[in-house]
């Protein structure tokens, strides 16, 4: 047991901190939001370019593709420090974490040369075309078809919950190429230029009032056959190697810690009977309970990281982390709303807003995270079946 960073890691962390202190843009006073207007897109692209210029984008990527082949530990430090510095998110995250590693593993040499360099610099932004109106948790039932016609695929169908589709240059998309095959074996992984005729993007307004994700309609969209990644009809396997790709779990734990810190500050400000709620015994019980859960997830993230560093095969850790973290984030926001009392439902634009409207926004946003990326119920299925070995139904 040893919680010290190595000399090299500490130096990396120190340089990174200094760089972030000097370069993280001041946060606007508008509070959190997911909306993206043209100016905001430009700002976020500029931020990624700047971060890339300093060598902090895609550090886990191999050197030949513009990364620095950094190990898990440095990637973890990067995620932690970006969260701690409250740096803007990376607009090119889908490219860096999802399509990039997929191309490295399955892409042709030509595909790698064409796409990889533009991912890190945010020159091309990617979106993920997976979910469909009829295919959510049962993703493999997806129906968007791609018919081969000469050197092209002709794509028709609909995707939904597609984050950033309104601004993306490219989509990596799962399409059905063989309707006759069993459902997991008739899917292909296709790269689609979002400017191709026949694509319509319609924003979906979320309960927060923001439009962060979209519906995407495909009406006989012609996609060059060379944009197929990996074997025809085996796109499920191609997509799953990326899903299984190591996720950086500590960055999200740091965000949960920061959320708790904000909640505690609120509890010191908000009063009941003239006394700060942080001195109110029932409120203290709830706050302490939440702090314990936050700390447990923090130490658990270190435990999972150590397990990965020791090269142990990963099990259901990611599912437990996803389930516990998203549920806790929602609980943190719900507690803040209780502390706010009558102020709780006040929203953007109100003069009496606390923390720029963070808490009602976060209350809703975190519920979206419980549903997205595999619902809590899907995570429990995975834990029960893959972790505990319980039999599948039916």
């Amino acid at each position: 047991m040893d919680l010290e960073l190595s000399q090299q890691e500490a130096r990396f962390q120190g340089e990174l901190r200094a760089w972030l202190r000097a370069h993280v843009p001041a946060r606007g006073r508008s509070g959190p939001r997911e909306d993206l207007d043209a100016a905001r897109v430009e700002r976020l692209k500029a931020w990624q370019r700047k971060l890339h210029g300093a060598g902090y984008v895609g550090i886990g990527w191999p050197r030949e593709y513009g990364g620095r082949a950094a190990g898990l530990m440095e990637q973890t430090i990067l995620g932690e420090e970006l969260a701690r510095a409250r740096a803007p998110g990376l607009i090119g995250m889908m490219g860096i974490q999802m399509v990039g590693p997929t191309l490295m593993r399955w892409g042709s040499e030509q595909q790698k040369q064409r796409f990889l360099p533009r991912i890190l610099t945010a020159q091309e932004v990617w979106c993920q075309g997976y979910s469909e109106p009829g295919s959510g948790s049962d993703l493999a039932s997806l129906q968007t078809r791609a018919l081969r016609d000469g050197d092209e695929f002709v794509v028709s169908g609909q995707k939904i919950w597609t984050s950033n589709a309104q601004i993306a240059d490219w989509m990596f998309c799962l399409v059905r190429t063989n309707p006759a095959a069993p459902k997991h074996h008739g899917i292909s992984y296709l790269l689609i230029d979002m400017k191709t005729p026949g694509i319509t993007v319609r924003p979906l307004v979320q309960m927060t009032g923001d439009a962060g994700f979209n519906e995407v309609f495909f009406d006989e969209v012609r996609v060059p056959a060379e944009n197929l990644v990996g074997p025809l009809d085996e796109g499920w396997k191609v997509a799953n190697t990326t899903l299984a790709h190591e996720r950086n779990m500590l960055g999200s734990t740091t965000q949960t810690q920061l959320l708790f810190d904000g909640l505690l500050r609120l509890a010191r400000r908000a009063r009941r009977g003239g006394r700060p709620l942080a001195e109110d015994p029932p409120a203290r019980q709830r706050l302490a309970e939440l702090k314990i859960r936050v700390e447990a997830l923090r130490w658990n993230a270190y435990r999972n990281l150590t397990s990965a560093l020791r090269g142990r095969p990963s099990g259901i850790e990611a599912s437990i982390t996803k389930l516990a973290t998203t549920e806790l984030n929602h609980e943190l926001a719900a507690t803040a709303l209780d502390l706010l009392g009558l102020l709780a439902p006040l929203y953007r634009g109100s003069r009496h807003l606390e923390d720029g409207g963070l808490w009602p926004y976060q209350f809703m946003f975190s519920l979206g995270m419980i549903i997205g990326g595999g619902t809590s119920q899907i995570q429990r299925n995975i834990i029960a079946q893959r972790g505990l070995g319980l039999p599948r139904a039916g």
């Binding site: 010191r268 706050l287 319980l390």
Partner: protein
Amino acid sequence: MDFGLSEEQERLRDSARELLARECPMERVRKIAGEAPGHDAELWRTFAEAGWLGILVPEAEGGAGLGLLDAAVLLHELGRAVAPGPFLASSVTSVVALREGASRAQRAAWLPRIAAGDAIATLALFEGAEPRLEGALLRDRAARRAGGFLLEGAKLFVDYGQLADLVLGAFRTARPRGAADFDGVGLFAVPSGVRGLKKEALISLDETRRSAELRFRGVALPREALLAGQGARAADSSRALQRALDATAIGLAAESLGGAERALERAVEYVKVREQFGRPVGSFQAVQHMAAEAASRIEPARALVWYAAWAFDARPKEASLAASMAKAACCDVYRFVARTAVELHGGIGFTFENDMHFYLKRALANAAAFGDSDWHRERVAELSKF
């Protein structure tokens, strides 16, 4: 950075699990639980031979000289086995108190014997008026008199007090001034045969861990009986007591987590074979989600136990906060998982013949012992300066 058990600790875990499966299976637990002392001298001898009883005793004093994380690994296994006996009271609580507060002579008198299994020690702390962990509430006094002290009072919930050879009694030597929690409280090394000490077993649900009521009627002790450190002229033992209580909380957390883990394993084994509606009940999603919820609460709590046990030795300033976090989290998890495991067994889980009640009762007893979860959460709030 490395936040995981060492190879030695993993070996200790594996060998302890193996030894307990062989020497302390549930049939033996059931037998010991059904007998008067709730303790098996032969099993105790086995633990001594394995080197467990002196795990926290320095090597020079006949022990293994290991840290609290090693002891936590062992307690996790003892918890899985619902092993009866005074391991926690004697080899953790008392050894830490002696290590931190005893004079050289006291250490020499007791530590080697505890490590060898020749003496059992325990802590007498709680009182009847308000049996909680608040140091300021302690009333029983140690009056100074020529050459020593006179102890007067009654202590409840003394783990294995009926068979302990050494009782570490917490008695007030001065008024609390409010600085440390146990300010003005002295720990006294009381040999069990001393005049004026009466013992009576308490009747409790958890028959795998016995406790007693101890009455002190004018128990006269020499000055050297006070655990006041080596050569120090301290009037109390508040620091030693606090360390012992933190170690105990962490120990209870580790033990609870082990119990929760095993109860869930057994419930999962059961729902895989129990069939209803023509298929294993474990294939029903309602059942799967109960088990998954239990598993997803156990895993993060495990990290808290490791952190607290590690901090106890490596970062003592963080230890009290970490101990309270681990105690509240793990005891809550154990109660939740134990009741879930009973439920997953259906009707058979409610019978005495089935083993599930042993886990449930231990979970209940551990949650109540040495500060309930509300108490520890308030301490978390206080130490975190909410």
